[in-house]
Amino acid sequence: MLIFQTGRDSRRFGWVILFLTALVPVSLAISVSLGSIPIDWGAVVETIRTGKSSVDHTIVFELRLPRSASAFVVGASLALAGVLMQALLRNPLADPYVLGTSGGAAVFALIVMLSGLAYQFVSLAAALGAVVSLALVIFLSRDSGGWSSTRLLLTGIVMASGWGALISFFLSISQQNQIQGMLFWLMGDFRDRGPGLVHYLTLLVVLIASIFASRGLNLLVAGTLKAESLGVHTLRLRFAMLIGAGLLTAVAVTLAGAIGFVGLVVPHIMRLIVGPDHRRLIPAALMMGGSLLVITEMLARTVLAPRQLPVGVITAFVGVPLFLYLLRRGSRQEMP
């Protein structure tokens, strides 16, 4: 139907999707099994059967699974947000972290936390911060002909460092005992609290909406006016994508702070594997992003155990070189 076509390409795509569908539970299982304390799965099964509590069961279901689920939702949200922002801005280098969207969400969330408002407002503020930040970048970097790559990236990067400075400012004026928790917003990390219903729902709704919009997205990356001439309501589509990408960034930020480059790396890799067609790219990037962050979170806990590394540090180790490589390759492509 929408995704599956006949021919060699779709058979390959079928295998990729099959692999990714298997990768999701496998990565979750590996991540839950590994850690500072080895798990006795017999005891876990015993608890599920008899209801008699055990340490192993508690570690799996109350400590590790929530973290892994968070990692999956964050990875999936960032990857999808990356795909949407890249189509929206027609720029393969767009990503919630690079363009300061995550930073905006973090600053708004921090302000609400420091002012002592209820926890529910934090997510709301993060969503607002993400949309405002993305809208600002779009507005400020726009010129008559659309968006030039350079101006867009510069505006986003400057915006990101501005948000970073604000976060540092909040850090410097806050109490000693708050600082450890606030570093979370700067580096990106997980807590032992799983995603809530609102996080799952946001991801699901934006996913369904993007799959339905994916043919429009395919046309949009060929040019806004061109898409319009082929019958796409580009204004509505771009507005919906702006909101969708903003909400997904907010989901990621409220769960894990500012984690960088997932939204850049994953869409790029998946484009190489399944091609640029959004009907394929969106589900593939979502599953890959989720699994990748589940594994990354596991590595962050285990590589230097018992120390835990911030997940954002690991994603940056991978993301920064790749970003630089893409930037170089991009500039060479512009001058054939």
Partner: protein
Amino acid sequence: MTLLSADGIEASIGNVVACRDLDLSLKPGTVWSILGRNGVGKTTLLLTLAGLRPLTAGQIRVGRDPLNQLTRRARAQKIGLLFQNPDIQFPVTVNETVMNGRHPWIEKWRDSSEEDQSIVDRELGRVGLAGFGRRNLSSLSGGERRRVELAALAAQQTELVFMDEPVNHLDLHFQTELLKQFLANYRSKKRAVVMVMHDVNLATRFSDHLLLLFGNGETCQGSVDMIANEENLSRLYQHPLRRYPADGAYFFYPS
């Protein structure tokens, strides 16, 4: 019968007024060329006629319907537009690019059909790129990309065909052959074609009507035989042009 009629329209961008109080009537089987100096608003007028820019004044009708009251989909089924310089930011195959032209005809939640694919294959064959479907568009030369765009436009199967510098990047052979072949095809199918052209001689040779934009909103239109003379064209380009006979026709030579 008229496919598109413009009634007292004004098209402008910034301070540039492309045309003022222009009446235009596009009949089936006619080919128009828009000529003018750089920056007089040729592209702006074309985009306005295609419904992609708002009118400053006047009204445009497609058949009997006002252009601005058509749904986007209905408009895309009637008006096809070839853009001047499409830039590629993301990798895309030749087949996908031509299939984009079928977008207005594919039902919303459906995928392209066998018939769509056979149209795509036929149009690719027509521009001499059969078998290029799986190639990455950015691996093609400028001229080959232009031919892919022309194939996509033809696959859209619209009764109004607007082209902004269709032979840009094409070599001499394809400039002549493709224009001849495409326009003959469009004429026989009773479509109406409007092209923005830079080459006066290609315009006079392949179109039957001319629309001259002098700048400041002043225009002049009519059949090629009526309009294409030394006086009009020299004034248009603000450069002296001489007309010479050649092979039963004529060509213009800038002195």
